[in-house]
């Protein structure tokens, strides 16, 4: 019998740390600092609207691009919050999470052999989605000494005459790094100079702890060459609702619309009505969550300093990315031993790219009490290692 599978899909690697995840999932009393989603429930008004919309029988498709009212409200929000000016009708598409937007952006923009520059460590889906769309990923290994920000030098070195797209994944999962206006400026200059496009994944934009998030699309000359991907999962604690959006030049959005229309139809109707209420009434809850994350972030930084675990100070998302190179173990070994010895689960940095070797992603989407307990255990583990005890 011949193979039912395409060469393309079989060439794509599953996440290499599956085995590690399985151990965590089976261990009942482990404390996990391994999640990539908020610990908060979706704000109540949003959930209530979700219930109401079901009661009202709003169970049909919306227009392919998404509810007009929601697109209008998103455009207002982006204007007020990030100085981004988009037309709800031709430049905005509601998607099934930010993830769908990543996928259909590649499919709409890439021809075989087009190069996509992907700074890593970063979220796991850029690379495989790029390959599935016949693009050629070109990885930039971001550096700890630059606090995992993308520098103009690194970008320039990676650009070839085949380069078409730059992925800008900030605020960053897994490092928590952000890019300030000053740091984005030289990047924007290079993008324009080399006639590139940018896919700016700003899903963590609401979780910025050093002034407001800055979008590269708000720079002169950048709107026409940038797709802004955002959504409700992180800032509004709505991961399971699967609702995101993408804004960009009408010419690109129009083609992405075709993929979306044929593959998806529309984002969940229920979620769209709920998110509309979220944008209109829940910004103070979003701020409260941001403040809670920030408190935990500062707590972790203080604790790392106390126990002498080196970690640059990240100002975005809900992750810290400490360095464990002093222990002479791989990230995966460290994470596995920590789990076995102290029942604390963290994600090896290598889950997000080879350059994550020597680092751990620690999520602070947990209560302060959980974090305190987990850091206590981590400290015990580190002391054992430093004392040369076999763990």
């Amino acid at each position: 019998m011949r193979s039912p599978l395409s060469k393309k899909i079989t060439a794509i690697q599953p996440s290499g740390i599956r085995k590690f995840f399985d151990i965590v999932t089976e261990m009942k009393d482990a404390i996990s600092l391994g999640v990539g989603e908020p610990d908060f429930d979706t704000p109540w008004r949003i959930r209530q609207e979700g219930i109401d919309s079901l009661e009202k029988g709003r169970t049909f498709y919306t227009s392919n691009a998404g509810l007009k009212e929601l697109r209008e409200e998103i455009c207002k929000y982006l204007e007020n919050r990030y100085d981004l000016h988009y037309d709800y009708n031709t430049e905005t598409l509601i998607t099934v999470g930010g993830s769908e937007a990543i996928d259909i952006a590649f499919r709409a923009m890439l021809d075989p052999g087009d190069e996509v520059i992907i700074p890593m460590p970063s979220y796991v889906s850029y690379l495989p989605c790029c390959e599935l769309a016949d693009g050629k990923p070109v990885v930039i290994n971001l550096k700890n000494e630059n606090e995992f920000k993308l520098t103009a030098g690194e970008l320039e070195e990676a650009i070839t005459d085949k380069t078409k797209i730059l992925i800008l994944p900030f605020p960053n999962n897994p490092t928590g790094a952000i890019m300030t206006r000053e740091e984005l400026e030289p990047i924007a200059r290079l993008v324009i100079e080399h006639d590139l496009y940018v896919i700016s994944d700003e899903i963590y934009s609401e979780l910025s702890y050093k002034g407001d998030h800055v979008s590269i699309a708000s720079f002169p000359g950048m709107k026409e060459r940038t797709l802004v991907i955002n959504g409700f999962s992180k800032g509004f604690a709505m991961t399971g609702w699967r609702l995101g959006y993408v804004c960009g030049p009408a010419a690109i959005i129009g083609e992405m619309f075709k993929v979306h229309q044929y593959a998806i139809m529309c984002a969940p109707t229920n979620s769209q009505y709920a998110a509309l209420v979220g944008l209109k009434t829940c910004m103070n809850e979003v701020e409260e969550m941001r403040e809670a994350y920030d408190e935990r972030r500062r707590f972790l930084m203080k604790e790392f300093k106390r126990i002498g675990l080196p970690c640059f100070e990240p100002f975005g998302a809900f992750y810290v990315f400490p360095c464990i190179k002093e222990f002479g173990m791989s990230s995966e070994e460290f994470a596995t031993e920590l789990l076995k010895d102290q029942k604390v689960a963290v994600v090896p940095g290598t889950a997000f790219g080879d350059c994550g070797e020597g680092f751990l992603r620690i999520s602070y989407a947990y209560s302060l009490a959980d974090l305190k307990e987990a850091i206590g255990r981590l400290e015990v583990f580190i002391k054992k290692l430093r004392a040369g005890d076999h763990v």
Binding site: G36, E37, N173, E295, A345
Partner: protein, 160 residues
């Protein structure tokens, strides 16, 4: 700064001074002084603990008592209010608008004790026209705190 500080300790009076200083971007001495000032000025009136007494067991009850009164010449409602709030078992006394005048909240050790207070002490007070007593059956949320939160989370332990 005062307002921010108050909002923080209103939610959690046990946040330590260092954490407060860090949150408000100031130093610990400033926080300590500010709190002492506000205690003196009667802005901060006490530090209490939220307790879910239902979980402790026992038969204690909370009663909400609506009281209609005749206001007194020159002293209005204040004198009567004082006569009521001076009883140690009385938790709160509010003068309110609407169909009655005082809302009185009292904690009783037993239903009988609470009923006894209303009948023997409150209803017979000069100036009290009538009372209506409601006993609280279950506290879901008190002072902004949900009393019995389910802790089960369906969040997966690891996600990327």
């Amino acid at each position: 700064m005062r307002e921010k500080l108050l909002k923080l300790i209103e939610k959690n009076s046990r946040v330590d001074v260092a954490a407060l200083a860090e949150k408000l971007g100031t130093d610990e001495t400033t926080i300590v002084n500010e709190m002492a000032d506000m205690e003196r000025e009667g802005i901060i009136c006490g530090y209490h603990t939220m307790i879910n007494w239902d979980k402790v067991g026992g038969d204690s009850v909370t009663a909400l008592i609506e009281v209609r009164v005749t206001p007194q010449k020159e002293r209005g409602f204040d004198r009567l209010a004082k006569q009521i709030y001076s009883f140690p078992d009385i938790n709160s006394v509010y003068l309110i608008s609407g169909g009655y005048d005082f809302l009185v909240i009292m904690e009783g050790k037993t239903l009988r004790e609470a009923a006894h207070f209303v009948n023997e002490q409150l209803a017979v007070m000069d100036g009290v026209i009538s009372t209506a007593t409601h006993f609280i059956l279950k506290k879901y949320k008190d002072h902004g705190t949900i009393m019995d939160v389910g802790t089960r989370s369906e969040r997966k332990p690891v996600s990327l």
